[in-house]
Each structure stands twice: as C-alpha cells, then as structure tokens.
Symmetry: C3
C-alpha cells in the first residue's frame, strides 16, 4: 500500500511548493492529488486558460518522485459560469435555488454546463494527459455531497420526462407500472409528469424510485462524459472518483462501471458524531471511530471496481464539518492506515497536506498546521510508511477475498428509504451495517458485493437489502443452491418484496425467491425502536427482535415462535429466511450458528477488537480504551500462539494498537 | 349494526368483481363504498364521461344484495383539471404550492374548481341518483386531510377579504374588533387585509381566528354545493361525509348541519403512534389502540347529526401512514366492531377490501391480501357479524344517550390553539380527551355535544373548551341551573375567557358566566409539562395540577389551596369552577367526587377495562394485556352478578375480549 | 433610582387618561414611555398628521408631574406605507418575505423607508422637542427583535455590495481577505458578491462575518439618522434605545455610541423558559428567573453608554411570548427593582401599565388588569418606591464600578457563532454567562466592558470572547501587564484565534497575544456536551472540562494535565491561559483561586444567594426557595455582623427577599 496526500498549490506561494514536495517525500508519501477545486485559477470569464501554474506544480512534484492524481475542477464552477448559465443551479426539494457561494452548485441535467465540463476536461486532458507524473485522474469531487445527487430544476424535470418516455414508450405503460389509477393520478401524456416533491401528501413511491434511478443515470452520464475524454488523451492512466461514507443517494455500482478504481473519503470520527445514532457508540468510539465504520466501506468499495480501491481522503485529526470534532486517540492515524492495508487498499491518501487558515474548512486539520509546522498525523504516517516497508509488499498480488458475502443493493436501499418498512426511525443502510458488524465481531472477513456479482465461491451469502424481486437474482441463487458447494444463503426481511415497478409481487414476497424457500410474507409490521419482541424455542433459546417483523405462511416449521404465535427463522436446504430484525447481541448469536453451519469458524471478539486477513498476513486492531491480551482474546482461532512472531506490534495490544503476523 | 367495506373496482379486473361481491356477502358485509377516487376513470380532458364501468360495478354489487355508498370523486381531480385551472391548487402557510401528484390538491376557494365539482356531481347524481343499490352518497373524502382545511392561495385571500367585508361592513369595525390599533396594524380598506401568515412575528390572533372561521365556511359552502345537487337527484338517500380522528382544523358541527349522517375514519393504532404523546400509552396500547381513542370519536360524531353516525373506514390490520405500523392484537378487529355497536354506530365499514399492491398505500392492509387471499380481519369480521345476529337488533331503536355531557366547541379549541394558554406543549383537544378518559375510567357513559345542544336532560355537564364567552351559552346554562333537575355544571380553565372577537371580556373571564358562579380570573399562567403544583385542603386531601393555572378572585371559599396561596376548585349552587388542570390520576378522583354529587354511580375500572350501555345491553371490553375477572372488576355497579347470562364472551375477559349482557 | 411605566393612551378612551396618570403618581412612578407603536394614529396615507391626541396625552401626564419618554414609531410602519414601498419589507434567510401584520416589517437598507422615518421623526421632534414633560426620546423599538437585524432583501444585497466596495476598494483585495481561492469562489467584480445564504453548503465564514458587520452598520445608520434629528430639535433631552436580553445579533457597543443612555427590556421568567437550556435551572428558577440573568445584562448595558443605563421594560407578571409563562414568586417584582438599583439603574420602567385585552399581547400582564383593577405588580412597585425613599439617594453619585472586568466582544461572539469551536450545541454567549455566574457565586462584583474600554483600573480582567486578534487589544493588555498595578489577565479558549478577516493568525492563536504569554494553540477540538475530560495535577486536584479543548505548545509548564497528556491551565507573569472550558462547579473553584491571586476576597454564596455593592450600600437577594440566614451565608466577607443595622429586610432572608445595609 502506498500513501498519498491532497494538496492545493493554489493556496500557497509558489516558493513554498518545492519545500512541500520534499517534505512529502521525506515522510514517505508517494501520491499527491491536486487541482480539483481550481477552476477559477485555470480559466477566466473570457475563456482564457492559465495552466502554467498547474504545470509548474506538477513538475515540482514530479521532480520529487511524487505521482500525481489530477482532479477535474467541475465540482466548483467559477462565478462567471453562473453568469453565463443562471439556470445551471440545482433546485432543492422545496424548489429553492441552491446558489453560488460554496461548491457543487450545479444540476447534473444542465446540458450547457455539461458542455463546459467537457470543454475544460478536454483542455486539461490535452495539456496533461501524457504528463509522466500523472498516474490517475479524478472526475469531479464527491458526487452527491451536500444532497446534490438529486435536483428538481426545470432542466432535471424535462430530462426526467424524456427518461420516462424512453423507458416506458407509452404513457399508459407508465400509468400502469406506477399504479396511477390509485387516487386518479393518471397522466395523459409525458408532459404531464410532475416532480415527486411538493405534493399535498406523499407522492407515488414508484414515481420517487424512478426519479432516483433517473438521478443515478444523470450522474453516470455526467461522469462518463469526462471519463471518455480522459481515456482518449491520457492513455494508461487510471480514472477514478472519490465516493463518500454512509452515502447511498445514488447507485455507486453503476457509476463505478465506468471507472478503473473506486476511491472513497474516510472520516471515521466525523461519521461517528454525524451519523451514528447510538449514544453509547458516540461516547465509546468518540476518538477512534466505530470499529466497523471504515472497514464496512473498505469492503463495500472494494466490490465496486473489481477489487481495485483507494482511500482518496483520510482524516488526519479533527475535521470541521461534524456536529462535534474531537481529536483522534494517539495512534489512530497509524491504525487507520494499517486497517486500510488489511482490506486491500492500493493507496491511502490523506486530506489535506496543510491546514488552510481561511474559508470554510479552516478548522479541518492536515499533516501540517496552518503555519507550516508538522502536526501529529505527519509523524504517525511516517511511522506507518516505515513499518509498511518491513513487509516488502507487492499489493496487487495479495488476496483479500472473504468467505462471506453481503449482497448490497443501492436500489434496494432506495426502495426501503422511500417507504420505510421498519418505521420512521428505520435505516436500511444502518441494518446492513449492523449485520456486517455482527459478522466482524465473530472474526469473519466479509466481501460486500454488487447484485451482479458471482456468488458461487462463497460459503455464506447474506441478502439484507435485495428488496427488488429480480428474476436474474433468483436464477443466480437457485444455481448457487443447486451446486455441490452450495453456500448457506440467508434472506432478511424485505428481500424480493417489491417488483421493479415498486409493487408487491403477485405471489407476495419474496416473489421469485419462493422457488428457493417455501415462504410467503402475509403481513409486515413496523414497531417503535424501544419495543422488543421476543422469539423463543422449546429449548429455552430466544432471540429479541425490534423495528420490523414479517408474518409468514410456510410449510416449514419455524425454529422459534414469538409470544403472539408468529413464527421466526425459517430454514430449509441451506436457505434461511430471517423474518424479523434481531437486536445486535442476538444477531451475533444467530450469525454464529449460521456461520458454523457454513463451516466457518466464528469466534467472539467482543466490541472493540477486530482482525482481518490479507494475503499471508493477519492483522489485529484495538479500537477500545483498554489493552487487550491477543492470545487470550483470539485463542487458537486465528493461528496466533505465544510462539508466533509478530511482525508489527505486541501481543499486549494497547488502545489504537496494531499487530501483524504471518498465517500462511 | 351493519358492516361494510371500501372497495375500488377500478383497481381490479372486471372479471373479479362478482367473486369479490360474493365473498363480501359470505362474510356478512352489507354496505360497500365505492367511487370516491375514480375521477380519472370517469371523465377525460375533453369532458367525455365513462360511467359504464361504474354502473356495471354497482349492478354487480346490487346483484349480491349489497348496499352501495357512492363517493363523489372531488378529492382527486385528474391531471387535466390542473391544466385547465393551474391556480386551483392550494398554497401552504409558507405560500408554497401544494402540487398535483397525490390527493386533495385543490383550494376550497377556487370558483372554477367548485363549478367542475358541481358538474361532475350533477352527472353522477343524474346517472345514479335513483339506482336502487345506492343507499347513501359520500361527499368528497376526508375534508382537511393533509392540512388542507386552510389554504393561502390568492383565491382564498380574495375570498377572505370579501368574507370580512360581509361580516364587518366597515373597515373601522374590523379594526376595532381585532384591536388593530395595537402595533399600528390598522387597515384603511378591505383590500388591505393580509393573510395571517408570513408576518415578522405572530399575527393578530383575532385575524387568525377569523381566517379559521372563514376556512370552515368555505368547506361548508363546498360541501353544501354537492349536497344540494345530490338531494335533488337522489331522493331518500342519505348524504354523509367521512371525517377524521384527532382532527379539529375546521368546525365539524357546522359542516354536519348539511349532512344526514356523520361518518368517520377510525385507525386506532395509527392514531396512537402518530398522535399520542405519552410514551407509556404508546408502549401499553401499541396493539390495541388507546381504550378511549375510538370511543371518544364515536361519542363526538354521534353528537354531530342528531345521533346518526357510521364508521366509514375502520383499520383492519397494519396501516401505512403512521410513524410505526404494528399489527393489531388478535381479536381487536372484532372488539372495535363491538365497541362501535356499543356507542350506537349504524354501520361499521372497513378500509379496504383488498390490499392494493401499488402506489402510496401498498402497505395498508385490507380484508384480503394483495394476492386475493383472506387476511386476518376477514375472519374476525365474519365472527362479529355472526355474533351480532344473535342479538337480533334493530339499531335505530336502541337508546345510547348518556347522563354526562361534554360540551365540545371546535371554535373554542381553535382559540386555545392559536394562543396556547397551557404553554407550548398544551393541547386543548388533548385535555378534553383526558377529561373524557377520566369519566370513562369511572364507568360513566358520555355524550359529546355541540355548543348548540340542549343540556337540560343531563345530570352532569362539563365545559372544558367553551372558550368563547357566548351570551346564549350563558343563558342556556342559567336556565339549566335554575331548573328543578339542575345538572351539576363544571367549568374548566379558559371557559368564556375570550369574546367572539378574540379579546378578554370586559369583566374578565368567565365573562357572562359570572352570573352562574362568582368567579373572576385575574391571572393565568402556563407551566412546563413536568412542573407539578400541589393543591390541598385541611383534611390532607390533595390534587396535583400541571400546565395551566388560573388565579381567582371570588367570594367563594375554594376547596383547596396551592402552596403559594392561590385557591383551587370553587363551587357554589351545583356549579364548579376548576381553575387548573389536574393530572389524570387526580382528575379521576375529582370527577368521582363530582359524579357522586350528580347522583351518578362512578366506579373505578382501571386503565384497561371499559364498559358502555346501549339499549338493554351493557358491554365490556378489555384493552389490556392481562385477563380480567369481570365480577371482581365491575362489582355490583353494572348489574353483573355470577348469575348473569353473558350473551357474548366470558366473565374471564381475555385481552381483546368482549362481553355482552342484558341490564334491562 | 426612579420607576416608570410603558403606557399606550391610544388603546384607551381619552376620558381615562387623567385617572391613569393620577394612579401612576399614586404608586410613585415618575417616568412614562409612550408613542412607540402609534404611527397609524399619528399619520394617514395622505400624510395628514394627527398629533393632537398625543399632545393631550403628554399634557395630562405632565399635569401629574410625570416625565415622558417619547418613542419614535418607526418599528410599526402603517399599512399604507407598505402600499407606497412594497419592497421595504425584509426577506429572511430563505428569501421569504417578512410581511405586514405584526411589527418590525422593514429592511434597514431601504432608503425610501429611511426617508419616511426621518420625516416622521422630524415632525415629532419639531412638535414635541421642547415639551417640558419630555425628558428622553426612544428611537424605534427593540432593534433586531424577531430576527430582524439581518435582512436578505435586494436592497440589503445592493447595499452590501457597496459596503464591500467601500471597505475593500478592489475585488482582488476582497477575494484575498476572504480566501475565495478556496473552492473557486473568486469574484470578478463587486456585482458578483452574493448573499451568504442559500448556498449548497456552508457559505464562507468571512463572507458571513462581513455581512454581520454590514448589518450592524445599517442599524447604526438607521438609528443615527433619528438621533441627529432629535438632538437638533430636542435640546438637553436624552436619546436612548431599548435593547433586549440574551441578544447578540448586532454590535450594541457600536449602536450605543450614538446614544446617551442604554436601556434594555428585562423579562427574567420569559428568558428562563425560552433561552435557558438547563432543565435544572428551568425547574429551580421558574418563578424567580436565573439569579444572574438580569444582573448580567445590567452590567453589560451599564458598559454601553459610559455607565448610564435604564430598564425600559420590566416584567410585572406572566408574559405572553415564552414557551411557558409562569407567575413570578410573590416579592420578585420588588426584588428585581432593588437588584436594578444595586447595579446602578437610573430608571426602572415596567411594561405595561394595563393589560391590553386585544391583539397579540393580550396575555401579557401589566400593573393593572385589563379591566383596570390593580394587579400584584402595582402593590410591589408601590412598596419598592416607598423603600427607595428611605435611602434618600441621588443615583448619579453612587459608585457602581467593580474590580473584575469581563471584556465583551459582540464581534467575537459572532465569529464563534458562525463556526462553533465548541461544537453544535456550544453557545459563546452562554459560556460568557457561565463565567459571569461563577464570579457572582463567589460574591464578586463585575463590570462587563467593551473591547475599547480602559482596563488598567481593574484587579482582574477576563477575556472569554475576544476572538478577533486585534493588535490594539494586544497593545492595551501589554500596557496593563507592564504597569505597577497590573491586573491578573485571564484568557479563555479562542482568544485572538481569528484575524479580522476571519482567518487563523499566521503565528497561530492567540496571535498578537503571544507577546503576553508564550502560548501557541496547535489544535482545537469540540466535544459532545455530555463528554467530560478530566485534568489533574500531582496533588490530586482536578478540573472537569467539556465542549472545547485546545492543545498548547508552550515553554510554560501547565498546572494540570489531561489523561491523554494535553496540558491544562498555563500561567506566567499574572497572565493565565485557560485552554478548555471547565464545567461550572470547577470553573468556580478555578476563578476562586485566580481571584485570590488578584487580591480579591471571593466567598462562596451558593447557587441562590447574590450580593452587590453600590455606593455605600451592599444588598443581598435570595433567588432560592428556602430562607437564608445572611450572617451564616455571608460570614464576615461582606461587612455584615449581627450588629449591622439592616436598612431594608431581615437577616433571615426569605425567598424573594432583599436586604440592604451600609458598608461605608
């Protein structure tokens, strides 16, 4: 794994650049991302291009053996662009203008702006496409950040009508697909189609789902336009984009199809205080981030571009944008680096080189303080780079694949977010992360894969948000199940519960998957988060569930019953249907039982310890506040004995500690 | 009591209709409501009417001996209507458009749309007015749903100015009535009158109250236009409208004056999780609904049309629209049916026949699953219908009147909602429901009556939201008090505290009622909900109050004093003034004492058990999670002894259990 | 100290005026404010002036020896004004119109409205400038109330562009000052400058700070236009404005420069339930207000106009506008009066004479009930006035200055509100009030002074929101520190942490103050409010901090260390740097230690008791619910012994009790 950094030469005097480059080299960095917000310095209102400074900056970095990732500047169109196209701005769900004055002030559906983007990218690609320092190009920056995936501008509205016309051909087909007869919502022609916002009450969920799909398609189109130009002028260079964390507002699998590498921006502490609803987690992991927060995304984005993934922006200290911005525990910057390695990252790049003393992000720390002195992260990264060299690795050859697959469907999550089957506080993404966490607490390595991925090589396949009843998924699972090395397949509530037109399948959920397991969901209920439903069997084992239960009709005898008689947990022929959401502690027990059935060797690690295998190495990480005795904690399950030679770390694993040992 | 169902033939193949009708008949249903959302299938943009399918559907139902309630489709104008009248849409309080794409997308003040409604209703009434299957017509659907009672469109604004001109004749009269001299808010002419929203701070409460009254008048006008047409063409048929629960956004007593039957839509579990602020109640009654939730509305709507009332839509299983949508406890569908009977419903109609697999309400259950199989409710309703037959009833002859009246003033609640005398979290409707609940926990039957109702036949009259100081109410109460059989009259805080112009009466509250009891309210205070004020007397009895206290000047010695010296509970000559809000447990004690004074026989039932008398029958209902021994719980207070023959149920009353016995 | 009242003759029949005036005189009032909302009665749409009634009202008051404060009516332009200038209305941050129908419906940047204000003020000043009854003029009413300090109207936008052009001369200078290179936000010319709202994400903090400064400047300009006219026509009269409580939305020190007297509107109970976040405080001080709530503002506004200050509006009973509006504990109206005296008020004026029975504030109590009877406050004020006479005072000669100064920077608070260094729930004003409260609980008298104030006469100087790194402040502090009688200077987190352009100083915080103490802040973190960080020293003393910590590099050995090694509390040469926010109980301990170092005599008073010295008198106040034995509570620290003759009150100080004794 290489390390890199995000750098903004346009913020600093040119005289400083060489010193910065030398300093980067000194602490072992090899990659530098630049340029992605610099449009106002690259072009003026008259179309006058000023690329000299950028060339100079790239050359200086090159002179210090640094590899450059050049970002296209399309996330920050200059002010003069908005003069030229006042209607390029997006509208929010209240149809309010999203104005100039920060970033991402554009609507994906504005053709004029798209043309401008193609023009500037062409200029840049022509100028720098074959520059020897440049190893990769980043398109735009964080698609969708600040809720920009979806715009309700007149341009988007028009494009959506065209998109519908193309998809449905006739308006009757659309009316029928959406069920518009309900409440007399039928359209007479495609020009009648409205936006799915601003309605008196909830708009049609089918309407919303199509608008979500349309929005993904607009991002794909916008992204591909840039990718095509870059590929033309920058042969052999990777094209990538930097995705975000806890973010499902468009289908990343679809956008990734046009990329070489999926990268993402990882802010463990910011995510914790902004997104984690658990007060306990917020207190416990305030300075470390949630033990599964980064790893979940590492595994998710590894599944986007055939295994190739980077971290493009990594938190080095307090950030500026979360409700609370604590300082990481000493050692965590190093730990996060090792963790990324363990999950197969090619590059770990930090955001940012030097704290900017001005503008919106002035309290976002960097590797250097705003006065140019080194901050803590610089030291920890230097240490990380030295330690990595001890392993003399060639990353591309290291096997990171797991035995457990979680099938991850962005569309399926969108369906559950549009109408929440687990009630107002339910999060489809949240449950998927809980399920992932349960596996990880059992020491299991996990792949998070797209609905299109092959599943036959896994021992255990989990479907927790495959909401769409897709015949091809049914076919694939049937084939898996029929094979000699059939995996254990586990279906969670809501699987195949909606057709692609957002309707309940004719044969009830789980639709086509009824061929896999004899299950019909005859009722679904949502429950307040503090309401607990207890299922138990005759041996006294029980399982506490919350939020969401389904009532099942089946010839299969359920393993447990709820107190009101509803069955729980149906399984037959290596297929399980889990018709309620177990609370985490009981979900771990359930997954342990199923993992054993899948011939895996689950082992309880507790809340704070995590381990991952990559190639011949196994690593362990301590996210807790107390030291851990590794031998005690891991037992014999992970090939660690008192005789094992630890390549990194000690068997007494301190908070923020990392250990590495050979297992092959 | 008859049972019925809401049916949408336009959602299903015509071939299915006869099977559905036969099935309805089989489970004992007699009434079917249809048509109320079908405008797009009844008329196209060219005015082409397509009534054939509707006639066919009605005929099919008729052929199976089912009685039809035909809904006018005006709650869902088709898309082409909005092309014709783009300005027919309402604006919300932020002056944002409430657009097409769901339902109720119209402003009551748009004359063009009103004309269209009269036209389609005329067509329907001409076509089906004398159809032998049709026993009743429903106007529109759920006036006011999704906050549509009040619109701030330019059409509404203009109509309001005209309404004001008609009411006040001169602008000086309006300025004086509203107190516009305060803050120089005086208008020079009626065109100056603004909307009571969008102001820098709170707008004038008198302005808001008049806008509320105007909005009620617009609904009355809209509704009456349809009623008049129906009456002309559909002789002998009842005209009704389906009102809602926990809903006071317009004056239902006024709208009801033009109807034959008040019906309402009852969703006990949806109301609980959406509207009930008590965490304890939400947990305790999650699967039963609050024990007084349905009954309160039954008694309220019974008071709207001279005792004639139905439930038009009744929850059969999980609904789709509440924050959490649990499944009812087994038996509750049956219980809710018996409960409606006990309060005098003529018809109990379920929503909906079959779960729609598409569009907004696809997770709203019905009597059938979306695949056509029977769901739980169908069985419970079949059982209910069988049991009802045992009683061989003619509903119209059964006496349901009670000895206790709660006077319910929609206008009085509006006054308290506009400026909340009990503080930010105070709910005038909520306190009325608590008072009702206190009476019901004491086993008392209650009528909830309009301010215009005669009160002289009651033993106990409660005024808890008669905020307006209405001389005619004062006169009526004086006459009551002067009669030989004078009821006990109880006034709660805020009674007669505002003139009809939203001002404090010249002689202080309770205004004209000071002739009834010598009370002057010299101060009113609101308190945080967790702040408790304790009143006590010299014998050590006490009463904990919260939210709202009034300070009284009176020649009457109060029964108790608060710790700071304020008096509490004034009574003289069978009139009580309760100048604070007791907490529920103490309110029950207080009402017990007063009920005894009124020669009623209050008996503590506890939280979960309820009983009601109708005609010669008394019924008991268990809303709790534990079985109840009826003899123990009811003692001798309700003519139940071990020798009593229970017509329905057992003396060991299980959760969701119902018992019926004769008391006359 | 004199007492006064706010009176609205235009609300009452002229026949009543003389009776009211006589009544005011009878209870000892000497000042009456009138006129500030009466524009619609002073002028009609044709410019016809009607001043007769106002002259008559003033004459009647004069005839009863009452001194008049005449308010300009510009906070409530009449409806016809909005016809004349429809664009005079402000827009809120969502660019929504803030419409006519309440008050303060104008944008400070509308030149047409400004001209109208100058015209009406000229007419009034010409008519009444030399009226012998009038002793003072109030400009407008509560600038900024209802979030009106800042408008985003097109007029404001244009004026802001001009303001920027004047400040920066060139657009490059502005781009550079704001750091607009970040995210390509650079402008090409001043017409490009947008509003700092409606952006996709956070707008540039430098942009927001300048918009805040601009808004203050617009208020100054609006106010000064009136002041200049009044001074011209009303020689010798004081000009004042009534500011508000817990309000920092513009720079009051700047507006005050044009006034003779700073007055403020004090609603202790309203502020408590509206603004105080502590549930404990809300419960404990529900009927008394927070013990430091009024005093803080008294001391703050005393620092605005060279020590001259009044209370213009004082709460007499329940108000109408807070979430909960309780009745004050009996005696509190009198206590608040004595408290104002103790802090040096010239006049304590109550709001309002008589409760208005109509319009928005009809539940706001007064000295009279709405029916004209006396309410409680009238009695308590009469008592206060009698007691005040016992002291035979000439207020102007009484020394109220303190030994402790808190430097209060409105601009510094704005900086911290724009980007919150203590996290989402952090309040810069709140911390300042906690610090003040800590001093007051130690029995210390405090001056709250402007950043321009001389500091050399204090023994202890506290800087808790001097966020801007102002060289002149640094110079002043250096001179203080160099003097023989150097005060102890205490710097809290964030001091001098931003340049005047909202950037981090080149040499890191505390910028220029590094010459005062050798400190560099290398990291700042924000923490959830329930997260506690414990610092301790080797002797076992500790200090619990929350919300905000800074990491320090210094040659100075910190007095304590946090568990993660960060230092806490640096001091050298009588300068302290407190680099985290201690929780209140530990802040009191810390301030005690520092106060002792400053040769003050801190003494723990506990939560509820307060004391203040003025001239030769010392006063004590009991805000608690239990009586206090003054000798026990105060010990010998405040010259109170069993032999001391109490001029007012008893040594057993009851709740709401006041004691006064001589100490010189």
């Amino acid at each position: 794994m290489k390390t890199g950094v995000c750098y903004y030469p346009e913020h600093w005097p040119q005289a400083r650049w060489a010193e910065d480059a030398a300093h980067m080299q000194r602490i072992g960095l090899s990659h530098v991302r630049i340029g992605e917000f610099a449009w106002s310095r690259l072009e003026d209102a008259n179309g006058q291009l000023t690329f000299d400074w950028l060339k100079e900056a790239i050359d200086v970095l090159h002179a210090h053996d640094l590899k450059v990732v050049l970002g296209t500047p399309t996330a920050t169109p200059p002010r003069w662009m908005v003069d030229k196209y006042p209607d390029m701005l997006a509208l929010d769900e209240h149809l309010q203008l999203r104005d100039f004055g920060s970033r991402r002030h554009y609507c994906f559906s504005h053709d004029g702006y798209l043309a401008e983007c193609k023009r500037i990218v062409t200029h840049l690609a022509e100028a720098f496409g074959e520059h020897p320092a440049i190893v990769a190009w980043q398109t735009d920056n964080e698609y969708g950040c600040h809720e920009t995936s979806i715009s309700y501008s007149p341009h988007a509205h028009t494009a959506f009508r065209q998109w519908c016309a193309q998809k449905y051909t006739t308006i009757d087909a659309l009316n029928s697909a959406w069920g518009n007869v309900f409440w007399s919502m039928e359209y007479d022609h495609f020009e009648h189609i409205g936006l799915p916002v601003g309605t008196v009450t909830e708009s049609n969920p089918a309407h919303r789902l199509d608008y979500w799909r349309f929005s993904t398609d607009q991002i794909c189109k916008f992204n591909k336009a840039q990718v095509d130009i870059i590929r033309q002028h920058a042969p052999g260079r990777d094209v990538l984009h930097n995705f975000m964390g806890n973010f499902v507002e468009f289908d990343h699998h679809l956008v990734s199809k046009d990329l070489d590498i999926a990268t993402w921006d990882n802010y463990p502490l910011g995510f914790l205080t902004r997104d984690n609803q658990s007060v306990d987690d917020q207190q416990r992991y305030l300075r470390t981030g949630h033990p599964d927060g980064s790893a979940f995304h590492h595994d998710l984005y590894r599944g986007c571009c055939n295994g190739r993934w980077w971290i493009m922006e990594q938190q080095p200290g307090p950030v500026n944008w979360a409700p609370y911005n604590p300082s990481p525990l000493a050692g965590m910057v190093r730990l996060w680096g090792w963790e990324a390695f363990a999950h197969g990252a090619e590059v770990m790049s930090y955001f940012r080189w030097r704290q900017a003393p001005f503008a919106q992000e002035q309290t976002h720390t960097g590797l250097l303080l705003s006065n140019g002195d080194e901050d803590v992260a610089a030291h920890e990264i230097a240490q990380l780079n030295k330690e990595l060299q001890l392993l003399s690795l060639d990353d591309k050859t290291l096997n990171v694949s797991a035995d457990v697959a979680i099938v991850f469907s962005y569309e399926g999550i969108a369906v559950q977010d549009i109408q929440k089957p687990g009630g107002a506080t339910f999060s489809a993404l949240g449950f998927c992360q809980t399920l992932y966490s349960a596996c990880r607490e059992l020491g299991l390595d996990v792949d998070i894969v797209s609905p299109e991925a092959a599943l036959d090589r896994y021992k255990l396949v989990l479907l927790c948000n495959s909401t769409i009843d897709d015949p091809s998924m049914a076919h694939k699972l049937e084939q898996c199940a029929a094979s000699k090395t059939a995996p254990i397949i586990v279906l969670f509530p809501g699987t195949a519960s909606r057709t692609c037109d957002y309707a309940i399948p004719d044969n009830l959920p789980p639709g086509h998957l009824q061929t896999l397991i004899d299950i019909r969901v005859v009722r679904s209920e949502s429950l307040p988060p503090d309401h607990m439903s207890l299922a138990s069997d005759e041996l006294g084992q029980d399982c506490a569930c919350s939020q969401w239960r389904e009532q099942i009709v089946s010839t299969i005898e359920p393993r447990m019953h709820f107190t009101d008689g509803w069955g729980f947990h149906y399984s037959s022929n290596k297929v399980h249907y889990i018709n309620a959401l177990p609370m985490k502690i009981d979900l771990i027990e359930l997954m342990e039982e199923i993992a054993e059935e899948a011939s895996l060797r689950p082992h309880h690690l507790g809340s704070d310890l995590r381990t991952r295998k990559i190639g011949p190495y196994r690593l362990a990480f301590n996210f807790g506040n107390e030291p851990v005795d590794l031998f005690e904690a891991l037992g014999s399950a992970f090939r660690l004995t008192p005789d094992t030679d630890l390549l990194v770390g000690n068997s007494q694993l301190n908070p923020a500690g990392v250990a590495v040992w050979l297992v092959e």
